[in-house]
Amino acid sequence: MKTPSPFSSLFTLHSSPWGYMSVQLEIRLFAGLKCNNPDLPSFGEIAFDLKVPPGTTVGELRRILAIDPTIRLLTMVNHHHEGDDWVLEDNDRIGIFPPIGGG
C-alpha cells in the first residue's frame, strides 16, 4: 500500500503554495541512491531539479526524497560537506552519497 509522504501535498507543480518563494535545488544522488518518493516527479531518478519550501534542511531533504533513514549519508552542498541541520538556499547544488571508499 502506498504511504503518502508527509510533504506530498506540497509538491504538485501547479498548486504549490510556496511556488513563488520556493527554493530550487539541483540534486545528484550517487552510488545506488535514488529518489524513493513516489509523489515526486523525480521518483526513481538520480539527477533532477527539485523545489522545496524555504528553510528546508539537509535532513528534511533526505526525508522528502524518502531515502532509507538507516543509511549514513554524506551530503555536499555547493561542494562543501554539510550536516543535517544545514539550511538549503535557492540554486544550491546538492550531492548525496552513501558510505563509500577506495584508494
Binding site: 560537506h81 552519497f97 558510505p99 563509500i100 571508499g101 584508494g103
Partner: protein, 578 residues
C-alpha cells in the same frame, strides 16, 4: 616463514643461491621486513640500477594463512624514480604462495654482466634459475601465456614487461590474480626497473605440496578471523560500496568535493566525470558480460576488483582503479571509459605504473605534444612507451622527466613521484601525506581522503589546515603496520570505524604468532618502520626541503574552492615529531 632466499645475480659463475634462516628478521613481514633490510643492507648513495641495490620481496606477516584479506606482497629497494627508500605492494596470489613456501623474503642482489635474461622458479624442493632469452621484451600478457605452457596454471607469476627490461622509471612488477591475469602491480617507484636491471624477467612461485601456514592457536585464529570477516561484511564501504563499484566509486565524490584534478591540476572538477564514474563503469561492465565484483587474491572478501570487457563482450582489462581512471581520464581531459580501459590494459601489459604514466601523458598534453582530451593521441603515446622509442623512454620515465624534457612549469611531483588523484589544495590532509611520506607523492601511505572526504574514522574539514598534520601522522603510522601485516589496505575502512573489527585483527595476529599485541604495539611497529625509512632517506641526501609540495600549490588557487595549499612548512616538519 622461517627462511630468507638470497640470489646473487652478479656472482661470477652465474646467479648464486643462498637460503638462510630468518634470524634477526623473525616475526617481520611485508613493508616492515623490506624496509628493515633495505635500510640495513643497501648503501643509501648507491645507484638504484646498480649492483649495490637490492630488490626485497616479502609477503606480509599473515600471508599464506587461512585468514581473509591476507594476499598482500611488498617489494622494497632504493627507488630509481625517487632516489629514496621504496615499498611498493600488490595483491594477487604471489604473497600467499611465497609465504606458504616458507620464505619471509626473497632478496635479489648484485647485477649480472651481459645481456642474458633469467627466470627463477621456486617450489618446495628449492630454487632453479635459468637463462631464457626467448622471453626478451615480451610484455606481461604474452609473457605469462608463454610461461604457463611450461609451468602450468597452479602457480603464481611475478613478471616485468618490456618497460622493466628497458629500465623505465615507471616500470612495475606484475603479480597474477587467481585467474592468472598479470593485473595486480607493485606499481609505484620503478621497482620493475630494478628487477630489469638485475636481469630477472620472471619469478614463478609453485606451492604444490605445501600447506596453509599453521597458527600457534588455530581455534583462536579461526574465531578471530570469523569476527574480522563479519566486521568487513557489516561495514558499508567494505561490505557494499567496494564490491558493487570498485575504487572508481570515488570519481563522483572527489568531483563533487572540488578535489578532482583536471587538465594537469588546473581545476578541481571535470565536466566529463559522470561518464568516468564507478557507477557508469559498473553498469557497463555488467552489461557487457564482465563483472564489477571480483577478488584479486584467494581469501579476499571485499571483492573490489572486476572485469572490463569491450563492446563485443571480449576481455579488455581488469576493472580499472580510481587512480587509473583519473590519470588517464580527467587528468588528461579524456571522458571515455573505453579509452581509459584500453590504456589500463597497455599499462598492465607493458608493465608501468598507471598513475605515473597517466600523469606523464597529461604533462605531454600540457607541453602541446598532443592536445588535452586526445584519446587516440594518448594511446599513441602509450604505444611509443611499449615500443621503446626515444619519446617512449621519456614518457615511460614518468611525469618529472617528461616535464623537464619539454619545459613544462607545473609538474605535480614530490620526491620525483607523480601526485595521485586528489588535489592537495581541496583536500589539505592528503597534501600533508604527499609532502611528508618517505615514499614520494603517495596517497595510500596515509590516506587522509578517508577522514577529509569520506568521513571514515572521524571528520576533518578538507579545506582547513586544522587537524591535518595529526591525521596524516596517525594514518601513516597505521598504514605502515597494515602494509606489514599482509592485509589489503582496504580493511582500514572497517577497522577505523569499528573497534571490534580492529580488535579482531589484533586477535588474529596474536593467535597466529602467540603474542599479546595491543593498539600501542601497532603504533610502535608503524613508528619503527617509518623511522627506519626516514633515516635511510636522510642518509640518501633527503632533507626537510624534500618534504614539500611543488611551490605552485601554495601560490595558485584551484576552482571551485579557489583555495591554495595552506599547511605551513613548520607544520609539515611536525609530522614525524615523536
Amino acid at each position: 616463514m622461517d627462511k630468507i632466499l638470497r640470489i646473487d645475480m652478479g656472482a661470477p659463475d652465474g646467479p648464486k643461491i643462498k637460503t638462510e634462516p630468518v634470524g634477526e628478521y623473525a616475526g617481520l613481514g611485508g613493508r616492515a621486513l623490506t624496509s628493515v633490510i633495505v635500510a640495513k643492507e643497501v648503501h643509501p648513495l648507491c645507484h638504484p640500477l646498480g649492483a649495490e641495490n637490492k630488490l626485497v620481496i616479502s609477503p606480509g606477516m599473515l600471508s599464506g594463512t587461512a585468514g581473509a584479506m591476507t594476499g598482500r606482497l611488498s617489494v622494497g629497494c632504493k627507488s630509481p624514480l625517487t632516489g629514496g627508500i621504496k615499498e611498493s605492494n600488490a595483491g594477487g596470489q604471489a604473497a600467499q604462495v611465497l609465504a606458504r613456501l616458507g620464505y619471509a623474503a626473497v632478496i635479489l642482489e648484485g647485477k649480472p654482466a651481459g645481456d642474458d635474461l633469467y627466470k627463477i622458479y621456486i617450489n618446495k624442493d628449492g630454487v632453479k634459475i635459468e637463462v631464457d632469452n626467448s622471453l626478451k621484451l615480451l610484455d606481461n600478457y604474452p609473457l605469462v601465456a608463454r610461461l604457463r605452457e611450461e609451468y602450468g596454471d597452479k602457480v603464481a607469476y611475478m613478471t616485468i614487461g618490456s618497460a622493466g627490461e628497458r629500465k623505465f622509471l615507471a616500470a612495475s612488477i606484475a603479480c597474477t590474480d587467481p585467474q592468472l591475469r598479470p593485473t595486480r602491480h607493485c606499481g609505484r617507484g620503478g621497482v620493475g626497473a630494478v628487477m630489469g636491471a638485475k636481469r630477472v624477467k620472471a619469478i614463478i612461485l609453485d606451492d604444490a605440496g605445501m600447506k596453509m601456514r599453521p597458527p600457534k592457536d588455530p581455534e583462536k585464529y579461526r574465531d578471530a578471523n570469523r569476527k574480522f570477516v563479519e566486521g568487513l561484511r557489516k561495514h558499508p564501504v567494505t561490505g557494499e560500496a567496494l564490491p558493487a563499484y570498485g575504487t572508481n566509486v570515488l570519481t563522483n565524490i572527489l568531483n563533487e568535493a572540488g578535489g578532482y584534478p583536471t587538465y594537469n591540476f588546473k581545476q578541481g572538477q571535470f565536466s566529463g566525470s559522470v561518464n568516468l564514474s564507478g557507477e557508469a563503469q559498473a553498469e557497463l561492465e555488467i552489461k557487457r558480460g564482465g563483472t564489477a565484483t571480483h577478488g584479486c587474491h584467494r581469501g579476499c572478501v571485499i571483492q573490489c576488483s572486476g572485469i572490463y570487457n569491450d563492446k563485443d563482450g571480449h576481455y579488455l582489462t581488469k576493472q580499472p582503479e580510481y587512480e587509473t581512471v583519473w590519470s588517464h581520464g580527467g587528468h588528461c581531459g579524456i571522458d571515455d571509459l573505453d579509452t581509459v580501459a584500453r590504456l589500463d590494459f597497455m599499462d598492465d601489459n607493458i608493465g608501468v605504473d598507471t598513475i605515473e604514466m597517466g600523469v606523464a601523458i597529461g604533462i605531454a598534453m600540457d607541453a602541446g605534444i598532443i592536445p588535452f582530451g586526445d584519446r587516440e593521441g594518448a594511446i599513441r603515446l602509450m604505444e611509443e612507451v611499449g615500443q621503446g622509442t626515444p619519446l617512449g623512454h621519456i614518457i615511460g620515465s614518468g611525469a618529472e622527466l617528461t616535464g623537464k624534457a619539454y619545459g613544462v612549469e607545473r609538474v605535480p611531483v614530490v620526491k620525483s613521484q607523480a601526485l595521485p588523484a586528489y588535489d592537495p589544495r581541496a583536500v589539505q590532509g592528503i597534501g600533508v601525506t604527499y609532502a611528508t611520506t618517505t615514499q614520494g607523492a603517495d596517497h595510500t601511505a596515509g590516506y587522509a581522503i578517508a577522514t577529509n572526504i569520506l568521513k571514515c574514522g572521524g571528520d576533518v574539514d578538507p579545506l582547513k589546515t586544522e587537524g591535518q598534520v595529526e591525521l596524516s601522522r596517525n594514518l601513516q603510522i597505521a598504514t605502515a603496520f597494515i602494509d606489514s601485516s599482509g592485509m589489503c589496505l582496504f580493511i582500514a575502512f572497517a577497522i577505523m570505524d569499528q573497534p571490534e573489527t580492529f580488535q579482531a585483527l589484533l586477535d588474529m595476529m596474536n593467535a597466529f604468532y602467540g603474542l599479546n599485541m595491543t593498539g600501542d604495539d601497532v603504533v610502535a611497529l608503524g613508528k619503527k618502520v617509518l623511522s627506519i625509512e626516514r633515516d635511510f632517506n636522510k642518509r640518501a641526501g633527503f632533507t626537510a626541503q624534500h618534504d614539500r609540495l611543488p611551490r605552485y600549490f601554495s601560490t595558485e588557487p584551484v576552482a571551485p574552492h579557489n583555495i591554495t595549499f595552506k599547511v605551513t612548512d613548520e607544520e609539515l616538519d611536525e609530522v614525524f615529531n615523536w
